[in-house]
Amino acid sequence: MSLLAADGITKRFAGITALDDVHIAVDEGERVGLIGPNGAGKTTLFNCLLGLLRPDAGSVSFDGQSITRLPIYRRARLGIGRTFQRVELFSGSSVRDHLLFAHRIRSGTGALWKDLLGLGLPKPAEIERCDTLLESLGLGGMGDEPIEALSLGQSRLVEVARALMTQPRVVLLDEPSSGLDRAETTALADTLARIQTEQGFGLLLVEHDVELVATFTERTYVLNFGKLITHGPTSEVMRDDEVRAAYLGDFVAGTS
């Protein structure tokens, strides 16, 4: 049984079928890609998995338990972490605060009476944990920086760090390469691969950048016009004619 699984997801918007009977599954410790051209339904599927949208049909399950009707925060507390395509950070807070907030929410120590008795203040051990993770992501020494001072690549790493502090069992990455150049994308992918191997969480990468998916993932799903057109080991999927047609157009696929 898969860790995170979507079965028969269908979603319609005002008569347009954005997703049509889509099945997808991610296991602990594996790196899975989800690709498709613009408008294929990647983001819609992503939102259904995370609880931002409720599918019209089908179900989402996590660790064997149905989470189709759970709100976003309950899914997060079960162990689904995510990053955002358009970086969503807590403006006005420092880098370390982002990690600290995530850790606090996850460990569930936030009761008002504890705060009022002064038991809710950040402890040195927690701060050290945050700094260790920052160090391993290459952000060492930046804990006190205001979040506005970071570059886009660094901001994405902070998002990853924030997601990791919730001790997720699966992390969903929403187009992490958008806005980054080739070198930055490679650096991000290397860091991600290293952390993922160390911690062993499952990873679902929703991407536009086929090259990143090809080098980074073990399995890949391909969406087009709301339908799953193929899935399998990444190297095979990349050779698939239908995939090439979806990306490069029928003419090129036909002549090749």
């Binding site: 995370l50 931002l52 709100p71 976003i72 925060y73 309950r74 997060a76 507390r77 972490g81 995510r82 955002f84 969503e88 950070l89 807590f90 403006s91 006005g92 807070s93 420092s94 605060d97 600290l100 907030f101 995530a102 606090r104 929410i105 996850r106 120590t109 936030g110 009761a111 008002l112 504890k114 705060d115 009022l116 008795l117 002064g118 038991l119 809710g120 203040l121 950040p122 020494g141 006190d144 920086e145 205001p146 506005e148 998002e159 924030r162 997601a163 502090m165 919730t166």
Partner: protein, 680 residues
């Protein structure tokens, strides 16, 4: 036979109530259309329409009744001239410059205007509130009664109100359909940016719609006087609150964006009002309230909570919402160690000096003023908690303060229990009321939350206070003793001041603990990005309900102390909703994000009118409403508050000055990172 006579009677009453309801609803419709017009064209949810309606009405009566101008010329000046010019000024001088601000900061500005405009008018015109004007309409012999179809009585005033509103609505429809300005307004509403790219000056469209909406508000202000009981014989801006609330309910029916829905909603609510008065039996206390003052608030609350269109609107992104700028880090977090020590020494010296003077030399008057400052600081800390930490606007802190005051009073009067216990019980009640009140509306957030809490504050003021189990009875009075507590008698002025200071310090420390602990972290995450906060598991509504309850309890403690200090619950002087609006304005203007900001606001609230305005400049105390009301405009640019902004600027200046003299020092003082991280 008797049954059919009875049925005929019911039918006749229903029809009569229908005809009486239309003119009342016409007034709601006018104000509702004003709301929709400005909200659509400039994204401003202008609560100041109540003030604008008051100014037109007061101008009319000043001219017509006191100076004997003929009706037509008084109407011309008050409605056709004053109202649109006021609208134009507001748009040109204020709202145009805050176009990109968030909906909530625009709401704060309009609250400031709602406080400032009527007071400014009264100061300029030398308006005499004691003068009973009488309910005079703009139609000669307005009280003449006609009988529609030979049996349903309506007055000339009522007919005029209905006809004028229908004519105004038709004119508005024609304007939209047939004129260039109308076409442009419709285009600007769809997409201001695209319209400007097509060569239309969106600013002019915005001015036009402000003049138009202000004209409507002024017209409503004048027309509604004869038919509105709350305007009675003394014309006061607060008299317009029930109308504004009903109009908000009507506008909410159309999600604040549909003009036809606002108009028909207004007429329908007017008819509902009179039907309730006619048909709901009076033998039950709750039903009797529903026929009268409670109705507008209950309608508004019900519409906000249950009308599905509002939920959908909140779920979808609001296109008119500006991008709110990220709240900058507090100045205190980025200053160097030297600056911190210097600041602390100065603060210690200041408080020591004030303490020595207060307990050694001050007379009773000043001790009482200082105690008031301390108590208002506690009350204002409740606004720091909800608005500064929670990032939301609530307009019913004044109600929670009143609950604390009445709690202390009731426990002492009824059961002879210590006022301290009564105050704490009041705080617990306020926290519970806050939780119950906020659960249905907290998901909506933003301006809906502000409106719903305003409706609750007015509901408390107009309905609940009159019950003896809340506001006490005439027979017992509203006396509150000073406490005796842990064997110490706090009845002397000095001792009570010490008790107040101790509670202020305790509340301040608790707020800082909350801010730095888990609850504060969740709130800061929510302020930074709600979607990201939920993605790490923050339960947004729960965090906000908790912080709202905490804030309610703090306000109630402050309210209880105020009653003990004054030895009675001065409800009318301290706790009416208009005062509550001013509280919010003064706190956000001076700085809602820090404990010091709240304390400075408390001191300013009490000392400023007495010392600066009255003694130094010889001005009327009412100028404080005008000054702070207009200062709310600064909120759009400096949401951290003027004091915090000033601190940050002077800090930057000093650091730059030091940098010029000693580059080495600047390196040490450049930021918190250098101070804690780099040095070995």
């Amino acid at each position: 036979m008797t049954a059919s006579v009875l049925a005929a009677g019911v039918v006749e009453e229903t029809i009569r109530a229908f005809f009486q309801g239309l003119p009342i609803g016409a007034g709601f419709a006018l104000v509702a259309m004003s709301f929709v017009l400005t909200y659509k064209t400039s994204g401003v949810f202008n609560l100041a329409f109540g003030a604008q309606a008051f100014i037109s009405a007061a101008t009319y009566f000043e001219l017509h009744v006191r100076r004997d101008w003929p009706i037509w010329s008084a109407v011309l000046v008050a409605v056709v001239l004053v109202a649109p010019v006021l609208g134009l000024l507001l748009e040109r001088l204020i709202f145009r410059h805050v176009h990109a601000a968030s909906a909530v900061s625009k709401l704060v500005i309009s609250l400031g205007l709602l406080v400032a405009l009527p007071e400014l008018f009264k100061l300029i015109v030398d308006y005499n509130r004691e003068q009973p004007f009488g309910a005079v309409g703009i139609i000669p012999d307005g009280t003449t009664v006609y009988r529609l179809f030979g049996r349903y009585p309506v007055t000339r005033d009522e007919i005029a109100a209905f006809v004028i509103v229908v004519a105004a609505a038709l004119a508005l429809a024609a304007l939209f359909r047939y004129t260039r300005l109308g076409l442009r307004i419709r285009a600007v509403v769809q997409s201001p940016r695209m319209t400007e790219l097509n060569g239309v000056n969106a600013d002019w469209v915005s001015s036009g719609s402000w003049m138009l909406s202000s004209l409507f508000a002024g017209l409503a202000g004048v027309l509604l006087v004869p038919t509105t009981p709350s305007l009675g014989t003394v014309l006061e801006p607060t008299g317009y609150f029930p109308i504004v609330i009903s109009a908000l309910a009507a506008a909410a029916l159309g999600r604040l964006v549909s003009l036809p829905a606002a108009m028909f909603g207004g007429l329908a609510l007017g008819v509902v009002t009179t039907q309730m008065r006619t048909h709901v039996p009076r033998d039950n206390v709750i039903l009797a309230e529903l026929q009268g003052p409670a109705l507008p608030y209950v309608m508004l609350f019900a519409i906000i909570v249950f009308w599905p269109a509002i939920r959908r609107q909140v779920a979808g992104a609001d296109p008119l919402l500006g991008v709110s700028p990220p709240p900058p880090a507090l100045a205190a977090t980025s200053r160097s160690r030297g600056m911190t020590i210097y600041t602390r020494i100065m603060a210690l010296a200041f408080f020591t000096a004030v303490g020595i003077w207060t307990f050694g030399y001050a007379n009773d008057f000043w001790i009482s003023r200082i105690t008031h400052s301390v108590i208002f600081s506690i009350i204002f800390l409740s606004i720091v908690v909800f608005t500064g930490l929670g990032g939301q606007i609530a307009l019913c802190q004044v109600t929670f303060a009143a609950i604390g005051a009445f709690g202390a009073m009731q426990f002492a009067q009824r059961w002879d229990i210590s006022v301290i216990v009564g105050m704490l019980a009041g705080a617990a009640i306020a926290a519970a009321v806050g939780a119950v009140l906020s659960i249905p509306v907290m998901r909506l957030g933003g301006i809906w939350l502000a409106i719903a809490t305003l409706a609750f504050a007015l509901f408390f003021h107009d309905v609940l206070v009159k019950y003896s189990w809340v506001g006490g009875s005439l027979f017992h009075g509203r006396g509150v003793p000073r406490p005796e507590f842990l064997g110490v008698d706090f009845s002397s002025r000095e001792n009570f001041l010490i008790l107040s200071i101790a509670i202020l310090v305790l509340v301040g420390v608790l707020i800082i603990l909350i801010r730095e602990s888990s609850t504060g972290m969740a709130l800061r995450a929510l302020r930074g990005s709600e979607t990201a906060a939920e993605s790490i598991g923050v339960i947004s509504w729960r965090s906000r309900v908790i912080v709202f309850s905490v804030s309610a309890a703090i306000a109630a403690i402050g309210g209880g102390l105020l009653a003990m200090e004054e030895r009675l619950v001065g409800y009318e002087a301290n706790f009416d909703p208009q005062t509550g609006l001013f509280w919010l304005v003064i706190v956000v203007v001076l700085g809602a994000r820090t404990v010091e900001g709240g304390i400075q606001a408390g001191v300013a609230f009490v000392i400023f009118p007495e010392l600066v305005l009255h003694r130094w400049f010889g001005l009327d105390g009412a100028w404080r409403f005008v000054l702070f009301g207009f200062a709310a405009i600064s909120f759009a640019r400096h949401p951290e508050g003027l004091l915090e902004h000033g601190k940050r600027r002077s800090q930057a200046l000093m650091q730059r000055a030091f940098a010029r003299r000693a580059p080495a020092m600047a390196a040490a003082g450049a930021g918190g990172a250098a101070e804690t991280g780099e040095e070995p």
